[in-house]
């Protein structure tokens, strides 16, 4: 319990630091929102007066410190202001986008996790066997393939040549297939390698010899001993994959024009749409903090050594 509170406190601190850092970095970066947005709208360089007016209208002409303070004050009440570009509330925008990202995340993990467990466990069960060799080759390959390339290849085959699937868009389950497939390949490969190596490490331990010496079957040893003891690193890996997917998979979202968080955040960065970037950074930090907290809590259930150490 005490650990959870300590973690929560640390999490809040991390979120404040993350948002302040992004605030300061954004202001130090060249380009300002007025210039970028006005140029995008009119297609030509805005005049000095136009920029001034734009900034004034949106209270962007006050000193940086005041802006930071105001933003933090609002953020504490979960009000992240409005987008400079669209004038929509950042929160609303975030949740619309988040739905699309969450869809992608959950479906991807629903495929990659069971698949990774199957590959990882089977390949550790017969280390050096035929399946192990084949799976190691393909997982390495899958990890090395860039997502944009795989996405484009799928598009060429299934949309352009075979004309089976829509190449981009959002709404129907058909739109999900290719982005999910692209993500599943990489995420399955990474996770199955974590599972394999973690299992192999445990399989070489003395207590496995004891379990064999007790006549336990290969299946019980693999599941109850090796896999059970490997869950720590596996859960950590899944947690971090979950976090990365939720924070938006920019490349895949861009390739398939998926209206998720990553794509929107990148657009906001181009326009220097400060409130959007700020809000998103904070909310993404929040998700990471929550996921890490959950991972840590799970860890204490998985490994009794940690459970009692922290008491």
């Amino acid at each position: 319990m005490e650990m959870i509170f300590r973690r929560l406190f640390l999490g809040i601190f991390i979120m404040i630091v993350a948002s302040l850092l992004s605030f300061v970095l954004l202001y130090m970066a060249p380009g300002n929102p007025a210039e970028n947005i006005l140029r995008q709208r009119t297609g030509e360089d805005p005049s000095y007066e136009e920029i001034e007016l734009f900034l004034q209208q949106r209270d962007l002409d006050v000193p940086l410190l005041t802006q930071t303070g105001e933003w933090l004050y609002m953020a504490l009440r979960f009000d992240f202001g409005e987008s400079i570009n669209t004038s929509e509330p950042v929160m609303d925008e975030f949740f619309t986008r988040f739905k699309a990202t969450l869809q992608l995340t959950i479906i991807t993990l629903a495929f990659s996790i069971p698949l990774a467990f199957f590959i990882g466990v089977s390949s550790a069960a017969k280390n050096g066997g035929a399946f192990d060799h084949v799976s190691r080759f393909f997982t390495l390959l899958a990890m090395s393939i860039p997502e944009f390339w795989l996405g484009l290849m799928l598009m060429i085959v299934f949309s352009k040549t075979l004309n089976w699937l829509p190449s981009f868009g959002y709404g129907s389950y058909l739109n999900l297939i290719m982005p999910v497939a692209t993500l599943v390949v990489g995420y399955t490969a990474t996770l199955s390698r974590v599972i394999r190596s973690s299992m192999l490490e445990n399989l070489s331990q003395d207590f496995i010899t004891t379990a064999k010496g007790n006549g336990l079957s290969q299946r019980v040893i693999l599941i109850k001993y090796a896999l059970r003891n490997s869950l720590g690193p596996i859960v950590t890996a899944i947690g971090s994959q979950f976090g990365h997917l939720l924070a938006g998979v920019v490349v895949v979202e861009t390739v398939f024009s998926w209206p998720g968080i990553g794509k929107f955040l990148i657009d906001a960065v181009y326009l220097r749409d400060f409130p959007v970037i700020q809000g998103f950074v904070l909310l993404i930090a929040l998700m990471f903090v929550v996921i890490n907290l959950i991972t840590d809590i799970l860890y204490t259930y998985i490994d009794p050594r940690i459970r009692y150490e922290r008491r």
Binding site: G213, N214, P304, R305
Partner: protein
């Protein structure tokens, strides 16, 4: 009844440094209810011998000779057959309980797994039985659900013993059961093993380098060196009238005899010395000893010594 018998048993490994002859021509037998102790230095092959009976060695192993359990040849037994024998007919108390017990399972859960497998119990019966066994080995009732890292060395060893006796095997192998324990705790563990195995008339194969443990537990003693048995006999024969210079050396090296170490180092299992394996360290060795390995000299029905000059010194 004869439980285990080995004939010219050899266990070799391939390693980058060459062929390791961990066990090189060993003959021994264990009868029902009998305790045979293997004494030897580190690297004499005694642990490998224990693991051979369970067929628990890594896959780069080569066996030859015979190793018969009742009327079953273990050398050629399949992994599936061994799974049935392990834990049920032949059980083992492993070295180093801390690393040999699963850190993520409570000690009770360890026993439950074995009981479910070999005694066809359901989970509930297995739990009750596991509790009974653990308490019998002297583990306090409130610690049964503890994990190894929460227990003292003595209690871990007790849990290990409980695991070894869980399924009433006919033979129990104990690999250095007192290693790393305080002297007072060592005595408790030795007494526990003695009490429990005497109650059930269990045969034992005990591996140790502690002469005190050997004397307390063993009916018969085998002195192992360089993958060979140099002397084997009843406890009275080996400790009362030791014949092999190595046995005499070991006994004199004991602190109670004034701590006189044997000169030199244990022989390598890769470059086996020519002639008698102990000859490089033996003060009595002559030209014959250095050249030709002596045969076993039979001194009595139970007492055998691999030395040319046994009972003539």
């Amino acid at each position: 009844m004869r439980l285990i018998e080995s004939q010219d048993l050899k266990v070799h490994f391939d390693s980058p440094a060459g062929r390791v002859k961990a066990v090189d021509g060993v003959n021994f037998h264990i009868d029902e209810g009998e305790k045979l102790v293997f004494i030897g230095e580190t690297g004499s092959g005694k642990t490998v011998l224990g693991m051979t009976i369970m067929k628990l060695l890594p896959t780069n192993v080569f066996y030859s000779g015979q190793l018969i359990y009742k009327d079953k040849e273990l050398i050629t037994a399949s992994e599936k057959e061994m799974q049935e024998i392990r834990g049920k007919n032949i059980a083992i108390i492993m070295q180093n309980p801390l690393s040999s017990l699963n850190p993520c399972l409570s000690i009770k859960e360890h026993l439950v797994q074995v009981l479910i497998k070999h005694k066809q119990m359901n989970k509930k019966e297995a739990q009750a039985e596991a509790e009974r066994i653990l308490i019998r080995t002297g583990i306090p009732e409130n610690l049964l659900n503890y994990y190894t890292h929460q227990l003292s060395g003595g209690l871990r060893q007790r849990a290990m013993i409980a695991l070894g006796i869980a399924c009433d095997s006919e033979i129990l192998i104990a690999d250095e059961p007192t290693k790393g324990l305080d002297v007072t705790v060592q005595m408790q563990i030795v007494n526990l093993i003695k009490r429990i195995t005497d109650e059930t008339k269990k045969a034992m194969f005990i591996i140790t380098h502690d002469l005190g443990v050997a004397a307390a537990l063993g009916d018969r003693i085998a002195i192992m060196y360089c993958g060979r048995i140099l002397e084997i006999g009843t406890a009275e024969e080996v400790f009362g009238s030791p014949e092999h210079p190595y046995t005499i050396g070991l006994i004199n090296a004991h602190p109670s005899r004034g701590l006189h170490p044997i000169e030199g180092f244990g022989a390598s299992l890769i470059d086996i010395p020519e002639g008698c394996v102990f000859s490089p360290r033996c003060q009595y060795a002559d030209e014959l000893c250095m050249r030709v390995e002596p045969p076993d000299k039979v001194l009595s029905e139970t007492h055998k010594v691999r030395c040319y000059y046994a009972s003539s010194k």
